[in-house]
Amino acid sequence: MFFRFFTKLRAAALRLATLRLLSQVFFLALFVFLLLRTEFRGTVGSGGDVRMQWPVGLFFKIDPLVALSNALATHALYRGLLASLLILLPVMFLGRFFCGWICPMGTIHHFFGNLKSEAKRGKQGIDANRYKPWQRTKYVILLAVLVAALFGTGLVGWFDPFSLLVRSVGLSILPGANYAANALINAMEHSNLGAVQSAGTSLHAALAATVLSFKQPHFRQGILLGLIFLVLLATNLRVTRFWCRALCPLGALLGVASRWSILGLHKDAATCNKCNRCLMHCQGGDDPIGGAPWHKAECLMCMNCVDSCPHHSLQFKVFRAEPEIVGTNLPRRKMLTGLALGAAAVPLLRANTALGKSRDEHMIRPPGALDETDFLSRCIRCGECMKVCPTNALQPAFTEAGLEGIWSPVLTPRIGYCEPSCVLCSEVCPTGAIWKLTPRKKGWVVGIGEANASASDGNANEAEAKSVRLGTAFYDRGRCLPWAMATDCIVCEEWCPVSPKAIYLQEVQVVDADGNLKLLKQPHVDPSRCVGCGACEYACPLQEHPAVYVTSIGESRSVESQILLSRRKAKAQS
């Protein structure tokens, strides 16, 4: 009995499709795990800087599309992106196995493509898996985003599968799941039945220790980002892996890269009786059936055809000589369309006001962000920084940064402020749009860590002069309690994290509504000290329209967007 089970297991393991499934499950699980860990979860161990415990940006680092776009736009390769060779080189030799075996986006689509649907019953299903000319659309997209990258934009992230996945799942699906789980737990814990209540408590403890976010995250456009993803999933009900076949520019790039690969599908014409079984579970739409040329660049190497052929006519072999269609198979006119799209995109997008004299006041970028043109050339709108931000302050832009900047990160102080010692967004940014920063380089906290030794000899002021600034705070004196309503407050001053504080108080005598004289403290901003963290705006009691607000002017990344002629050095206090 046991022996038979064992031999069965071995037979199954020898099937290539089973190995592929194991690989897919492993990499999808890894992706989800890393995404869940893209947040600071208070760990044991005291003091020191807060860092990510896991290489959460792993999938971006091995993404050749992001690397290529980054290289084209910046004429350099940021940090870990060299690791993308780990994928690109094997694909050049072996073909698009990455899509079929590793890519988590592909795995999700694989799963949804396997769902039963009326549109894919019987003959229709086989027809749907034949090669279709519209599969070349992805090459047009690839061409367009790469040409656009050459003009200096990171728009590739709108279509890059990992960007799309992190953005949709991290900013919409996971927060939604978190909300649902909390609602369930809350309902259970407030139940009148003791058993349900204790089950709820243990569920709460178990989930809180593993997957639940400590604070419910909220993201603007969350519903939109989630719907885009769900619609892409739904396309699988008509055409299996429509995303991978027709749209994915990373798949297109790997398809092009596989042009000279030595591994390919061998079709034994003698034994093939064109039973169509190979087409029933084909993932790539690459025509594994006998009698038709194999489309090398479309094949995801899922191995389903090899396993489903009853005559063993199909096999992957090296150095075979058989008719096949390699490369993009793109007619010149489509090629030109892609080139034109890419070439036109940047000039058209940049002709708007986002980069002109007057920037949007709400376009407050994360600490460490490069100046806007450099930022836009690197940022792939993946949402990693927004996912990791501990205060939920980083939000996907909608109108703040122009059309080109859609889904790039903006700091939204009404939702959250920039935590003084936190540099997690710069740690997770895969492309250097938010350049690597340390708490010391951020400079909002003086005399800690490396600066400890020389804190007293004037270095403090030097660090302050060079500190990162995101913008400047301003008072709306018509709404501020001490200014407009003869009422004590100054919560903004309490929260101001820099020292000396950028908000200073002046004690004045005012007249209240009853005509009585009253002494109170009115807040003012010192623009040379303000770092634009937004803590004042976040803490202001006038929540829906705070009486103190931060705008982007004065941000250290920009030379032009400044108020002061020179920043006076803060006077050392006795």
């Binding site: 600071f40 979860r41 208070g42 760990t43 044991v44 161990g45 005291s46 003091g47 020191g48 807060v50 909390n182 737990i185 809350n186 814990e189 400590f214 604070k215 419910q216 501990p390 205060t391 935590e419 003084p420 010692s421 936190c422 909002w444 906290v445 003086v446 005399g447 800690i448 400890n452 804190a455 007293s456 403090a460 309690l481 009422t487 004590d488 407050c489 100054i490 919560v491 001053e493 309490e494 929260w495 101001c496 994290p497 820099v498 020292s499 000396p500 504080k501 108080l505 403290k521 803490a539 202001c540 009691p541 929540q543 050392a572 206090q573």
Partner: protein, 350 residues
């Protein structure tokens, strides 16, 4: 298909699942038996719906907050005329200072009984390290935890409702690690664990209070002495802001009255004000080590009013008369501001 016409071959296979009772008959109505059964079913369902609706409508009540009278616990212990009411300990080791303070006050078992459920309320409000002196010294917290265990406490909880991101505050203040190392239960402010409580104050009525503060036998207040822009200094009273959720930023509009309302709701067993490092300027957040003075002092006692008055005078030279909340508190019977007349003991520890 047309249900009126059972003869079409459409319905023959489409309705294979329907019961035999609806087999084609000459009469265009159901049998008496079926009719009665259906009537029974619909009557049952109707009665159940009506009963549920009636029951639910009886349960209808406007959501009301728990009143302070039901949840307020007096955590104080009997005064002892032979023992000091306030002790001031100086030393180099915060842990030894805590141990000394307990010894001077008559031993920890005077405050913590065997089997007590103890909650410690340090200040863990800001994302700062211990050297920056914006949060209570982690060694002070750890030693108080240890003392509570020694007195036979059943449960020791360390918690606070932070201002900055709680996970960062608990982590970088070093308090989570130090308290866990001593075996305390560290509870982060989870939004789902606040209970709406009527505090019964003059201006503070219904506010969300963090649940762990509501079920304790003993509560120990562990503030750190810091500068504050509005009141000059933030000490023991101000630390109670950290038991509340909701929009605490409104409390500052009448800070003195709200401080007293809160202190009258939360009567601590003991207060230990951490003056090991004192944030003299740019409080309560600080950030710059130049603002921090090393005073290596711990002030402890059973009279929260006197303690605040003493520390304000000692480090900022603020008279009790310049802190209106102290007078309000005195009138409310929470203690006395003239700390000079208290039984006080000064001592040195290791």
């Amino acid at each position: 298909m047309n249900p009126e016409d059972p003869a079409t071959d459409n319905s023959a296979h489409a309705n294979a699942a329907t019961s035999t009772s609806s087999a084609p008959t000459a009469l265009d109505c159901m049998t008496r038996r079926d009719a009665m059964l259906q009537l029974l079913r619909v009557t049952g369902a109707g009665m159940a719906t009506a009963a549920a609706a009636l029951w639910l409508s009886q349960n209808s009540a406007r959501p009301a907050s728990t009143t302070a009278a039901n949840v307020r616990r007096d955590h104080t212990v009997e005064p002892n005329a032979a023992l000091p009411e306030m002790v001031v300990v100086q030393g180099n080791d915060p842990r030894a200072m805590v141990a000394r303070a307990f010894a001077d006050l008559g031993g920890v078992s005077r405050f913590i009984a065997h089997g007590d459920h103890v909650v410690l309320k340090p200040n863990i409000a800001w994302d700062r390290t211990p050297e920056q002196a914006a949060n209570t010294n982690p060694d002070v917290v750890a030693e108080v935890v240890k003392q509570c265990w020694q007195a036979g406490a059943k449960r020791v909880i360390v918690t606070d409702v932070s201002c900055n991101d709680a996970e960062r505050c608990f982590h970088r203040s070093g308090i989570a690690a130090a308290a866990r190392a001593e075996g305390a239960e560290v509870i982060l402010p989870d939004l789902a664990r606040f209970r709406e409580v009527n505090l019964g104050g003059e201006i503070l009525q219904s506010w969300p209070v963090f649940e762990p503060f509501l079920g304790a036998d003993k509560v120990i207040n562990l503030p750190i002495a810091k500068h504050h822009g509005l009141t000059g200094a933030t000490l023991g009273f101000k630390n109670w802001y950290g038991i509340l959720g909701g929009e605490r930023n409104r409390l500052h509009q009448q800070i003195h009255q709200s401080l007293v309302d809160l202190a009258a709701f939360m009567l601590p067993t003991l207060t230990l004000i951490d003056c090991y490092r004192v944030l003299l300027r740019n409080g309560p957040t600080g950030g710059n080590l130049e603002d921090v003075a090393l005073h290596k002092t711990l002030v402890a006692g059973t009279d929260p009013v006197a303690l605040d008055a003493y520390v304000a005078k000692a480090y900022w030279n603020i008279e009790a008369s310049a802190l209106p909340y102290l007078q309000l508190a005195e009138r409310r019977g929470l203690g006395r501001a003239d700390f000079e007349h208290l039984r006080t003991k000064f001592s040195q520890s290791a």
